[in-house]
C-alpha cells in the first residue's frame, strides 16, 4: 500500500503509455512527465505568489490580499486575468525581436532546469550522467536573457539594472558551484539520482543527509545564500529593486510579458531550491527512519515549501544589500569560505569515522568563519546613529 502510494504517478504514467502504439511510446512517456512538471510547478508558482504576499504582509504587520476567495487564496487567478488583459506596451525605440524573445527564453530555460531534479523515487525526467552540470549550464543561459531584456528596452535604467544583475549572477555562481562540488566529491558522481541515493539510509533514526556534516552544513548555507543571489531575491534584489531603479531590467515590460518574467524568476528560485534539496537535504528521503511510509514526492514538496517559506521570511526581514557590499560579500567572504569548505570536505572523507572527524572539520569551518568575518569588518565601527537635523 505504501509502495503503491509512493509510485502512484509512475504507475499511472506506465498505464497511460501502455495504451499508445509501440512506436510512439518513447516520445509519449517523457511528454507526460513534461506536462506534469509544467502543471505542478506552474501551480506552485501561483500558490507562492499569494503565499509571499500574505507572508510579507504579516511580517510587515498588515494583511496581505484578502478579497479574492477565502483568505485571499484565489488571488493568483485575479492576477492572471489582469496580466492577460493588460495592454502590451513596447517602447518605440525598443529592439522588437529581442524584446519579445527575452521572457520566452527565460521561461524556457527555467522550465528545463526541472529535467534533472528527482522529485520522488524513480521520478526524474532525465537521468543524465552529468545532471548537476546540466543544471548549472542551463542556469547560465538565464543570465543572458536578463541582458537581452535590459538591452532591448533602450532604457538607461533597464540597462543599468541588467548589467548589475549579470555582474551579481556571475559573481555568485562561483560559490554556488564550489559548494556543490563538495557534494559531488562526497557522492562521487554528477548524477542527481546517485547523489540522492547516497544520502538514503539511516543511522539509528537520523538520516545521513549531507547537511548533517560540518562541511555539508557550511556548504548548504553557502549554497542557499548564493541561490538567493542567483534568483535576484531580496536581500540581493538591487537590480530589480522597486524603490531603487524602478523595476530594473523589466521596466519596459507590461502585461503578460511581465508575468512571464515573474514566472521565470520564481521557477528559477524553485529549481535552485530543488537542487539544494537534492544535494544537501537528501532529496526525496524522509527525515526520520520511521517516517518512510510517507510517499517520497510529499517529502520533496514539503522540503521545497519549507525553503520557499524561508526565502519569503528572509525577504521580509533583511534590508537590501548595496551593489558594492554585495560584490564584496561574494568575492571576499563567500569565495574563501567555499574554498575552505572544499578542504573540509576532503578532510572529512579521509579521516576515520568518529569524534576526531567532527572536531577537526568543525574547527575547519568555524575558525575561518569567525576570523574572516572579524577581519573583513575591521574598518567598520558600529556606533549609535546621530541625526544631524533631528536633534
Amino acid at each position: 500500500m505504501g509502495e503503491t502510494a509512493d509510485q502512484i504517478f509512475v504507475i499511472v504514467q506506465h498505464w497511460l503509455v501502455g495504451h499508445a502504439p509501440a512506436a510512439l511510446r518513447s516520445t509519449l512517456s517523457p511528454l507526460l512527465s513534461v506536462v506534469a512538471i509544467l502543471g505542478v510547478f506552474a501551480l506552485l508558482f501561483a500558490v507562492t505568489t499569494v503565499l509571499e504576499r500574505k507572508g510579507l504582509g504579516r511580517i510587515q504587520n498588515r494583511y496581505g490580499p484578502n478579497r479574492v476567495g477565502p483568505f485571499g487564496f484565489l488571488q493568483p487567478i485575479a492576477d492572471g486575468i489582469k496580466s492577460l488583459t493588460k495592454e502590451d506596451i513596447v517602447p518605440q525605440a525598443a529592439d522588437k525581436a529581442v524584446h519579445f524573445l527575452a521572457p520566452v527564453v527565460l521561461v524556457l530555460a527555467a522550465f528545463s532546469l526541472y529535467a534533472v531534479l528527482p522529485i520522488g523515487r524513480n521520478m526524474v525526467l532525465a537521468n543524465l550522467d552529468a545532471g548537476v552540470l546540466f543544471f548549472f549550464a542551463v542556469s547560465s543561459v538565464m543570465e543572458l536573457t536578463i541582458f537581452m531584456a535590459g538591452w532591448s528596452s533602450r532604457n538607461k535604467y533597464s540597462l543599468l539594472g541588467a548589467m548589475r544583475a549579470i555582474a551579481q549572477m556571475i559573481s555568485y555562481e562561483v560559490p554556488l558551484i564550489l559548494a556543490s562540488v563538495t557534494v559531488i566529491m562526497a557522492a562521487g558522481s554528477l548524477s542527481t539520482v546517485t547523489i540522492v541515493e547516497r544520502q538514503a539510509g539511516y543511522i539509528g533514526i537520523l538520516p545521513h543527509w549531507f547537511v548533517f556534516t560540518p562541511w555539508g552544513f557550511a556548504g548548504f548555507v553557502i549554497f542557499m545564500i548564493a541561490a538567493t543571489a542567483e534568483s535576484n531575491r531580496s536581500p540581493f534584489d538591487l537590480p530589480e529593486g522597486e524603490s531603487e531603479i524602478i523595476a530594473g531590467y523589466y521596466t519596459e515590460y507590461s502585461g503578460f510579458k511581465f508575468a512571464l518574467f515573474f514566472l521565470g524568476e520564481y521557477l528559477g528560485m524553485f529549481a535552485i531550491s530543488g537542487l539544494g534539496i537534492t544535494l544537501f537535504l537528501g532529496g526525496w528521503g524522509a527525515p526520520l527512519s520511521f517516517l518512510t511510509w510517507v510517499p517520497s514526492y510529499l517529502w520533496f514538496f514539503s522540503k521545497l515549501l519549507t525553503m520557499i517559506v524561508v526565502f519569503i521570511w528572509v525577504r521580509g526581514t533583511l534590508p537590501r544589500l548595496r551593489m558594492d557590499q554585495l560584490m564584496n560579500f561574494a568575492w571576499r567572504f563567500m569565495l574563501p569560505m567555499a574554498l575552505l569548505n572544499l578542504v573540509t570536505a576532503g578532510t572529512w572523507h579521509f579521516l576515520p569515522q568518529g569524534v576526531l572527524r567532527w572536531i577537526v572539520c568543525g574547527l575547519l569551518v568555524i575558525v575561518p568563519y569567525v576570523l574572516l568575518g572579524r577581519g573583513l569588518m575591521q574598518g567598520w565601527k558600529l556606533e549609535k546613529r546621530v541625526y544631524r537635523f533631528a536633534e
Binding site: D95, F134, S140, L144
Partner: protein, 164 residues
C-alpha cells in the same frame, strides 16, 4: 537527421552573426551558434563536452562579449553595410579554400573509417584521466587562468588608483 538540423542551426547562427547589422544581434546569433554546436556534441553522445560547451561558451564567453560590446562602443544605431565591396574576390578565395579542405578531408583516413563504436568516455573516466594521466596539462591550465585573473585585477586596481 537531427544532427543535420542542429548543424544547419549552427551554420545559420554563424552566418547571421556575420551579416546582421546591429552588433548586439550578432552577439546573440553567435550564442545561437554556440548552442547549436552544443546540441551537436550532445547528439553525438559527448555529454560532458556538450554541457561544458553550454556552461563555458553560452554562460561565460557570450556574457564576456556582451560586456565588452556594452562597455566599449556605441552600437545602437550605426548600420554597417553587410555586403562588402570586394565580395567577388573574397568569394573566389573562400570557394578555393573550401574546395581544398573538402578534397583533403575526403581523401584522408578519417573519412574512410566505417561507423565507430560508441566512445566510452564517461564522466568517471574523464575525471580519472584529468587527475592521473593529464595532471600536468591541468596544472598548467590552472596556472594560465590564475595569471589571467591576476592580470585583470592588476589592471583594474591601477585604473582605480589613477582615477583617484
Amino acid at each position: 537527421m537531427l544532427l543535420t538540423i542542429f548543424a544547419m542551426l549552427t551554420v545559420a547562427g554563424a552566418v547571421a552573426a556575420m551579416s546582421l547589422r546591429s552588433l548586439v544581434h550578432s552577439v546573440l546569433a553567435l550564442t545561437v551558434a554556440f548552442a547549436g554546436l552544443a546540441a551537436v556534441y550532445l547528439q553525438l553522445g559527448a555529454q560532458f563536452v556538450g554541457l561544458a560547451q553550454i556552461l563555458v561558451y553560452v554562460g561565460a564567453v557570450a556574457i564576456l562579449i556582451v560586456f565588452a560590446v556594452l562597455l566599449t562602443r556605441d552600437t545602437g544605431a550605426t548600420p554597417r553595410a553587410s555586403i562588402s565591396h570586394s565580395w567577388m574576390g573574397s568569394g573566389v578565395a573562400v570557394l578555393a579554400i573550401f574546395g581544398t579542405l573538402a578534397w583533403a578531408i575526403h581523401h584522408s583516413a578519417a573519412s574512410q573509417r566505417t561507423a565507430v563504436s560508441e566512445p566510452a568516455a564517461s564522466m568517471q573516466q574523464i575525471g580519472n584521466a584529468l587527475m592521473l594521466q593529464f595532471a600536468l596539462p591541468l596544472e598548467i591550465i590552472g596556472l594560465l587562468l590564475t595569471a589571467a585573473l591576476i592580470g585583470a585585477v592588476t589592471i583594474a586596481v591601477r585604473e582605480k588608483k589613477e582615477a583617484r
